[in-house]
């Protein structure tokens, strides 16, 4: 008996990836419409390239233009500083928070919360906090700023990369569109400082 050759027309054409606008015209033009919907995208920029502003604008655009609530995960600036700094762009984040359109997961470093690593760990608590925030306001967008600040906190980078994979796949299963910012050391060098974490994301 001969095996039947697979029929070519049995393979379904995948639906094209839909894009969500970030609200930054230049970026959306380059990225052919914005970030891929329902995916995780790592956006790398050099120091001082306003990555935090970009991460905020992605959420503000969702709230203002499409009524899509957003979760902001910060590993660097405290939520208070972000609320204050973004006022100069006319973005009243506190008002969005009160309207249940914006939620912070404030994972900025605080001296009194410093912990000594005594063994293998995971980022289960971070995952639970993000998921809780997403469900609480029914978020459609998530910004994570920045991955470098997270890597600066722990020496166990191999472990962090595995955990970022886990968080990324969890976010995909929640159906939210995620932006992760990273700093790159050279304008046209390695994509980000830690070399590997760009694989966390399904890319542009």
């Amino acid at each position: 008996m001969n095996a039947q050759p697979p029929e070519k027309d049995a393979v379904a054409t995948p639906a094209p990836v839909r894009k969500l606008p970030t609200g930054i015209e230049g970026f959306d033009a380059i990225a052919e419409g914005g970030l891929p919907e329902g995916r995780v995208t790592l956006v790398a920029g050099s120091a001082g390239s306003a990555k935090t502003v970009f991460a905020c604008q992605f959420l503000v655009c969702g709230i203002r233009d499409r009524d899509e609530p957003g979760v902001f995960v910060t590993f660097e600036d405290p939520a208070d500083a972000i609320r204050r700094n973004m006022l100069s762009f006319g973005w009243d984040i506190a008002a969005y928070e009160n309207a249940q359109r914006w939620a912070f997961v404030d994972a900025s470093p605080r001296p009194e919360q410093m912990s000594t690593v005594v063994g293998a760990f995971d980022l289960g608590a971070l995952l639970a906090r993000i998921e809780h925030a997403v469900r609480r306001i029914d978020a459609r967008r998530v910004s994570i700023d920045s991955v470098n600040a997270l890597f600066a906190r722990f020496r166990e980078h191999h472990l962090l990369r595995a955990e970022l994979h886990r968080i990324a796949s969890h976010l995909r299963s929640l159906g939210v569109t995620t932006l992760i910012t990273a700093e790159r050391t050279q304008e046209y060098g390695e994509v980000s400082r830690y070399g590997v974490e760009e694989f966390v994301a399904t890319t542009l």
């Binding site: 404030d106 009194e112 005594v118 980022l123 608590a125 639970a128």
Partner: protein
């Protein structure tokens, strides 16, 4: 005050977390304090507690009392080291072992 209050943040319950809990119970006995309390918080069930305490990694132990707070993160392989990190070795408490 010779009392001890520990919080243990875990992600779900597994044989591994049960081992961590057992190790901490042993630790609280070793600490030789009058009042001892160990509260286990599963971050999947109580994520708002992880938010409130600023916990990223699991497992994490927080020594709430005595002050100052101390924290240790990771699976416990070496109980003596954990005692030291949490400041629970007798010399930290000026309570010499008999």
């Amino acid at each position: 005050m010779n009392d001890l209050h520990l919080l243990l943040f875990v992600y779900g319950r597994s044989p591994r977390t049960e081992a961590t809990i057992a190790a901490l119970r042993q630790l609280t006995r070793l600490a030789r304090l009058d009042r001892r309390e160990l509260e286990v918080i599963d971050v999947q069930e109580r994520p708002e507690e992880a938010e409130r305490w600023g916990i990223l990694a699991t497992p994490t132990v927080v020594r709430v009392r005595p002050l100052p707070q101390r924290r240790a993160t990771g699976e416990i392989d070496n109980l003596a080291y954990l005692l030291d990190v949490l400041g629970l070795t007798p010399r930290h408490h000026e309570r010499p072992t008999s």
